[in-house]
């Protein structure tokens, strides 16, 4: 078990999310940056779908009551075990009562803590991903206990040959496909949007990222239609909203662009004020 001494800014249990429940209006959820989450699991030889902790901006302080191995990937938040700095993207051996903490955010926004065998919270509708209204809470809190199976058989060499692709944290270009309503934009608007520089607004979370600037002409609303994580909506007031992993299953704003899965991962590592460009891609 892990004792949560401090929960951090926004820490939640996530996995690959829910598949097959969209028809009931259930969001997909799952790790915002699926690449980094799966990388942390791969370092430990876990399954892709093993549940991890997604930590945001300010990390938690956690005490492990049983030995195990962990790996941390994604944003660099200066992790330390018993106040001694530890490496990211590698196997960390944890002994009874060790305390994991985080310091300054150096790069990115979200980091993933994988644990051997995965976190063992209750599965709801096929997934452990926390989402309000589906699981009992949407994030962990101080004094929570997090369950895992202890692990003693330390294999340092495990998966030592995989290399973390740092471009997820460093690039500012998002690959996008044309969205279902892209062709409703005038040629002028298409060119203007595709050649813009964007900033992440302060309204950014697991449901959606709003981008700046505003565009002069929006589009009329559409009949409520399916949307996906990564769908870029253009509101009548000219605002671009990028839907993220916790987004609703349907929406009424025109869907002008669609982020690639990699672009969703990249955007998940951005925060207020970060600059972005987009690049149109064909399938």
């Amino acid at each position: 078990m892990i004792k949560v001494i401090k929960s951090g800014f926004y820490t939640s249990i996530q996995d690959c999310g829910r598949f097959g429940y969209g028809v009931y209006g259930v969001p997909t959820s799952g790790s915002m940056d699926s690449y980094s989450s799966q990388f942390a699991n791969a370092v430990l030889g876990n399954f892709d779908k093993s549940a991890v902790l997604e930590i945001t901006m300010t990390g938690p302080k956690l005490q492990f009551l049983r030995p195990t191995i962990i790996a941390i990937s994604g944003a660099d938040m200066s992790p330390a075990l018993n106040d001694k700095p530890i490496k990211i993207n590698s196997i960390i051996t944890v002994r009874e009562n060790d305390v994991l903490s985080f310091g300054r955010l150096r790069l990115g926004l979200r980091a993933y803590i994988a644990i051997k065998g995965g976190f063992l919270s209750n599965k709801v509708l096929g997934s452990r991903s926390m989402y309000k209204g589906i699981t009992s809470t949407n994030r962990i809190s101080n004094k929570d206990d997090l369950a895992y199976n202890s692990y003693l058989d330390v294999q340092k060499a495990l998966n030592a040959n995989i290399k973390y692709d740092k471009s997820i944290l460093e690039t500012d270009t998002l690959e996008v496909f044309k969205g279902p309503e892209f062709d409703r934009l005038t040629k002028e608007m298409q060119t203007q949007i595709l050649n813009s520089n964007f900033n992440v607004s302060k309204l950014n979370n697991r449901m959606a990222y709003q981008l700046e600037p505003l565009f002069k002409n929006g589009l009329k609303q559409i009949l409520t239609s399916p949307v996906l994580p990564g769908t870029v909506q253009l509101t009548p007031s000219g605002r671009l909203i990028v839907l993220m992993r916790d987004c609703q299953t349907t929406g009424g704003y025109p869907r002008i662009l669609q982020l690639s899965n990699k672009a969703i991962n990249i955007l998940s590592q951005k925060t207020e004020g970060n600059c972005l460009k987009i690049r149109l891609k064909e399938f």
Binding site: F19, G20, Y21, G22, V23, Y24, G25, V26, P27, V124, L125, G133, I134, F177, P180, I222, L223, T224, S225, P226, L228, G230, Q248, T249, T250, Q258, S260, N261, F283
Partner: protein, 243 residues
């Protein structure tokens, strides 16, 4: 009836199929019938098919390698379909209490529409609504069929906490909030039934294509039903359908 459908690759692993953008029951039947064909065709793979008023979204759980093959098989399914999957829709009876404790916007609504409270309740209860799809929140039913005498634009400032079970009208639409949520619709009553339950394999009993009828209940019956719901002793009832 065959419609001219538009096929669109939505992302690495999804295809969107679009019908003409209208709210129409015959269109819904065609969509749901095609949906069944697609689900049966892919029965051995993990594929999720989601509908809305005028589209189907097909989510594969792997990247689509050959889009032309997928489109060819989907188009053939539409060409060769018939109506064998069409079954008589279930009509669900949903109890609603219009006491002002629950219908927090009912007085204002009545004034705005220049109708009496009992007129609003009877117009609202007379209709058999069609469930088009579920979206917005887990278990939120998009219902069609609201009487145009009850159309009222959404509030300009949304309410930050609309209570679970609130029965509300927004523009030409009506629905029931399955959980506490912010919302901009006018709340006229409350239903004690549980629309979404994660403990069930099928978390929503009511599905697209079903019908819904609202029956007025008083405060006491609302409480009785709510008690049963809270102890898992309430089953939502269907009315026999003879149309």
């Amino acid at each position: 009836m065959a419609f001219n459908l538009k096929y669109f690759r939505y992302n690495e692993s999804s295809i969107l199929i679009e019908w003409p953008a209208v709210i129409d029951e015959n269109l819904l039947k065609d969509i749901l019938n095609y949906k069944k064909y697609i689900e049966n065709y892919y029965i051995k793979q993990k594929v999720e098919v989601i509908n809305s008023y005028s589209s189907l979204l097909i989510k594969y759980n792997v990247t689509i390698d050959n889009i032309n093959d997928r489109l060819k098989e989907l188009k053939a399914l539409y060409r060769n379909r018939n109506n064998i999957y069409f079954t008589k829709p279930v009509i669900w009876n949903i109890p609603v209490c219009y006491d002002t404790e629950f219908g927090v916007d009912l007085d204002a609504f009545v004034q705005e529409k220049k109708l009496s409270k009992s007129e609003v309740i009877s117009i609202y209860s007379d209709v058999i609504y069609t469930v088009y799809f579920i979206g917005f929140l887990p278990g939120f039913l998009y219902l069609g069929g609201l009487d145009n005498r009850l159309f009222l634009d959404r509030k300009t400032t949304p309410n930050l906490n609309v209570k679970k079970g609130s029965v509300a009208i927004g523009g030409q639409q009506t629905g029931i909030y399955p959980q506490d949520s912010p919302g901009g619709w006018h709340v006229i009553g409350n239903s004690p039934i549980q629309l979404f339950n994660t403990k069930q394999n099928t978390p929503c009993i009511i599905k697209a294509g079903d019908k819904v009828k609202f029956s007025p209940v008083d405060k006491l019956e609302h409480k009785n039903i709510l008690d049963k719901v809270n102890t898992s002793n309430y089953q939502i009832k269907s009315i026999s359908n003879n149309d």
